[in-house]
């Protein structure tokens, strides 16, 4: 077996209570690397089409990356993957922290869960021994209490736990899978899948070292990378250690990246109070920084707001997305209320991007009389009303009153409310987008629409190149320079960035430093022992992306089903702000990306020739 892998995965059938190991051939790791690559391959191969995402047949996979736990810098991540109940598409979400490395330490590269338990259970994996345990006493507990209780029951405060809070138990379609109190695999609604399976938690403990093929080379690469970032890292590499992504809020708003007033506006003049929710005004509540496993950036922070209307004890620093969502999107300049909303989402296990977009949606519905005060349980849902924002967030987390209407995301909420509410529901095929406007970086829109998990800002593709600093995601890849508002000739570039991103994700590398000169191909070669070239890396990335996409095609989804909201296109164009006058040609961008990937622009079906080149002919060939 190549380095980087423990060589086996654990299957858990919750219906029968059976657990078993499976050894995967090395070729499968080389073809899909790890993380959601392995998960997609297993789902495509072993799960029939069109299963109920909340039913027993949906495979829910927790998978580490190739580099996870290997000592490669900032490579700690694991993926949660399965069919998304929020979008009906392939769904995955990424999370940092320590679970991934610990799972490998316990002897497994991945855990695949099928079936539905008769009563709540949790899965314990300690030093290679797995068992299902009764979790009835944990059902209903919040995230922190559950983690504490599981660690206490195992008698090990160092056990690493992934779990769902009450939102996942109640199958909220915006529920997250949580870890380390405040880390989340937030997107795609996979917390609802875990809750529907009555799987409250997975706890792991293990001390096995991750095998590394060439430790000397790994050390060389690590030292060279860290030195490179110190000397030549981009501005973001200086911001993150000091502020985390919370340092970006005013900057991103000023650039026009952030949505303002439910995406109806953009720019600093639309929300001049932004300084109150960025940088020093956020981290003044930080007690200490913390880092994920083997990460020198340490962008996380433990927060304490000791008094005032929104006390939070030992909570977590909100990320940029959370500050933008509960801040600029809702015209809310009260930072303590955002810290509180973040804490509520963490405790109940809810994705903050979706939750904050739902809140902004409700505010706009209220403004237009679509939601009345009575329907809103007496809350005065006006822009910037932070008391109402916190109260509504708690109701969404608890599925209480109006919160029950909103707890499955804006698409479902608009269908429930009716009366034209869909005009204000900002989503792509059910998922609320991250706070990176396609009008600023049009390729972000391509990814929102064309990535198999729609609405994902982390699938940004060539958006980085549109900023102009770099043309390629890492050294060794040479791509033509593109312009921000160029609409033709971008498909191949978007595909190259996107295919590289698949390897970032499946190797377990954090997105943040992935494009800071990280020689991902060389790190993979050093850890695995493979002769892993840049060319193989990009081809492998394309294979993984095409397989994720093929999952959606097999579900009966077509390209026309995925629409970017008019407000992110610029229809009509804004009259003020940095993106004033911009209307992006999203149709051309998406069409050229599909063509570059050899996916039919009408049906989405990958071409037979390309499937053969990718080695997917046998698995996916019946689609073509």
């Amino acid at each position: 077996m190549a380095g980087g892998f423990m060589g086996k995965i654990l299957w858990a059938d919750l219906t029968s209570g059976k657990l078993w190991d499976e050894t995967l051939p090395e070729q499968m790791y080389r073809r899909y690397i790890g993380g959601y690559g392995i998960a997609a391959a297993l789902a495509y191969e072993r799960q029939r089409a069109k299963v109920d995402a909340l039913g027993p047949e949906n495979l829910l996979t927790f998978a580490t990356g190739l580099l996870t736990g290997s000592g490669a810098p900032s490579a700690c991540r694991f993926a949660v993957a399965g069919k998304s109940p929020l979008t009906g598409t392939w769904g995955d979400a990424s999370c940092g922290g320590y679970f991934g490395a610990e799972l490998k330490g316990a002897g497994y590269d991945a855990v695949v869960v099928q079936g539905t338990a008769a009563h709540p259970v949790y899965l314990s994996i300690v030093e290679g021994k797995a068992s299902l345990r009764d979790a009835r006493a944990l059902w209903g507990l919040d995230v922190t209490a559950t983690e504490d209780a599981v660690q206490a029951e195992l008698g090990d405060p160092e056990a690493r736990v992934v779990l769902v809070g009450p939102a996942g138990e109640q199958r909220s379609l915006i529920a997250a899978v949580m870890h380390d109190d405040g880390r989340a695999a937030g997107r795609s609604g996979l917390g609802a899948v875990m809750g529907a399976k009555r799987l409250k938690a997975i706890a792991v403990r293990g001390t096995r070292p991750v095998p590394v093929a060439d430790k000397r080379r790994l050390t060389e690469l690590r030292n060279a990378f860290l030195q490179f970032v110190k000397e030549s890292g981009p501005p973001i590499s200086k911001i993150l250690p000091q502020y985390g992504t919370a340092g970006n809020v005013a900057n991103n708003l000023t650039l026009g990246a952030s949505g303002v007033r439910n995406w109806a506006l953009a720019g600093r003049e639309a929300f001049p109070e932004v300084e109150q929710i960025t940088g020093d005004n956020v981290i003044k509540y930080q007690l200490r920084r913390y880092a994920c496993e083997k990460c020198s950036i340490a962008c996380g922070g433990i927060f304490d707001v000791p008094e005032g209307p929104y006390p939070v004890r030992l909570g977590h620093k909100p990320e940029y997305e959370t500050l933008a969502g509960f801040g600029t999107l809702c015209l809310n300049a009260n930072v303590e209320s955002i810290v509180k909303a973040n804490e509520l989402c963490n405790l109940y296990g809810v994705d903050t991007i979706s939750a904050s977009t739902v809140v902004a949606f409700a505010l706009e519905c209220y403004e237009h009389g679509i939601l009345t005060r009575e329907q809103a349980d007496g809350l005065e849902l006006t822009w910037g009303n932070h008391q109402a924002l916190v109260a509504l967030t708690e109701k969404i987390c608890r599925r209480e009153g109006i919160g029950d209407v909103l707890a499955d995301g804006v698409k479902v909420a608009a269908e429930r409310i009716g009366r034209g509410a869909e005009r204000f529901a900002i989503h792509i095929h059910g998922q609320e987008p991250g706070y990176h406007d396609a009008k600023l970086c049009p390729s972000r829109g391509t990814a929102y629409v064309a990535d198999p998990t729609p609405g994902r800002h982390t699938a940004g593709g060539a958006a980085t190149a549109e900023f102009g600093r770099a043309t390629a995601p890492q050294p060794g890849i040479d791509l033509p320079k593109i312009e921000r508002y160029q609409y033709t000739g971008k498909g191949e570039v978007q595909a190259a960035w996107s295919n590289h991103k698949q390897i970032v994700e499946t190797s377990g590398l954090c997105l943040m430093p992935a494009n800071w000169g990280y020689r991902l191909d060389e790190f993979i070669a050093a850890v695995s022992g493979w002769d892993f070239t840049v060319a193989e890396m990009l081809l492998t990335g394309e294979r993984i992306q095409t397989l994720r996409h093929a999952f959606n095609v097999r579900e009966g989804l077509r390209p026309a089903d995925f629409k970017l909201p008019d407000r992110l296109i610029g229809k009509p164009p804004l009259t003020s702000g940095p993106t004033a006058g911009v209307t992006i040609d999203i149709d051309t961008l998406v069409r050229e990306y599909y063509q570059a990937m050899a996916w039919d622009v009408e049906t989405g079906v990958p071409s037979r020739d390309r499937l053969q080149k990718l080695g997917l002919g046998e698995l996916v060939g019946n689609l073509a």
């Binding site: 060279a224 990378f225 030549s232 981009p234 501005p235 973001i236 590499s237 200086k238 911001i239 000091q242 502020y243 340092g247 970006n248 005013a250 900057n251 991103n252 000023t254 650039l255 990246a257 720019g267 600093r268 003049e269 940088g279 958006a463 980085t464 900023f467 102009g468 600093r469 770099a470 390629a472 995601p473 050294p475 060794g476 890849i477 040479d478 791509l479 000739g489 498909g491 191949e492 595909a495 190259a496 943040m512 430093p513 992935a514 494009n515 800071w516 000169g517 020689r519 060389e522 070239t533 840049v534 060319a535 990009l538 081809l539 003020s576 702000g577 940095p578 004033a580 570059a596 390309r610």
Partner: protein
């Protein structure tokens, strides 16, 4: 006409310079590209970022009166100017050793399948 331009800085630039705003004296109107050069000369710690050829080059964007400013756009007296970091990564030079395999993708040659 000689005048003052006040530039509001965001992180990490405000941390590098040590203040939230800087004022520069210059002949106005001034092109945005010239303002970046001036910022690099006046504040050497900004130079790697504001110079298009610096290690961190093209890592910034000027927003003038709530609009993106291109290098030739003119800055007038009283304009509100922000120096923003482009929140992105990407590589400007190779980290690896000289002679590393350089794999080139050219769409015209059939992309990486060629």
């Amino acid at each position: 006409m000689q005048g003052e331009i006040t530039v509001t800085l965001y992180s990490p630039f405000r941390d590098l310079v040590g203040c939230r705003q800087v004022s520069l004296s210059a002949a106005l109107p001034l092109q945005a590209g010239a303002l970046l050069r001036l910022l690099g000369e006046r504040f050497p710690k900004l130079a790697p970022y504001v110079s298009p050829t610096g290690e961190g080059g093209a890592a910034v964007m000027l927003i003038v009166n709530d609009r993106m400013a291109g290098p030739e756009d003119l800055i007038q007296p009283g304009d509100e100017v922000f120096l923003c970091a482009q929140i992105c990564g990407g590589c400007r030079r190779a980290m690896g050793k000289p002679g590393d395999q350089e794999w080139r993708m050219h769409a015209a040659r059939g992309g990486w399948h060629a």
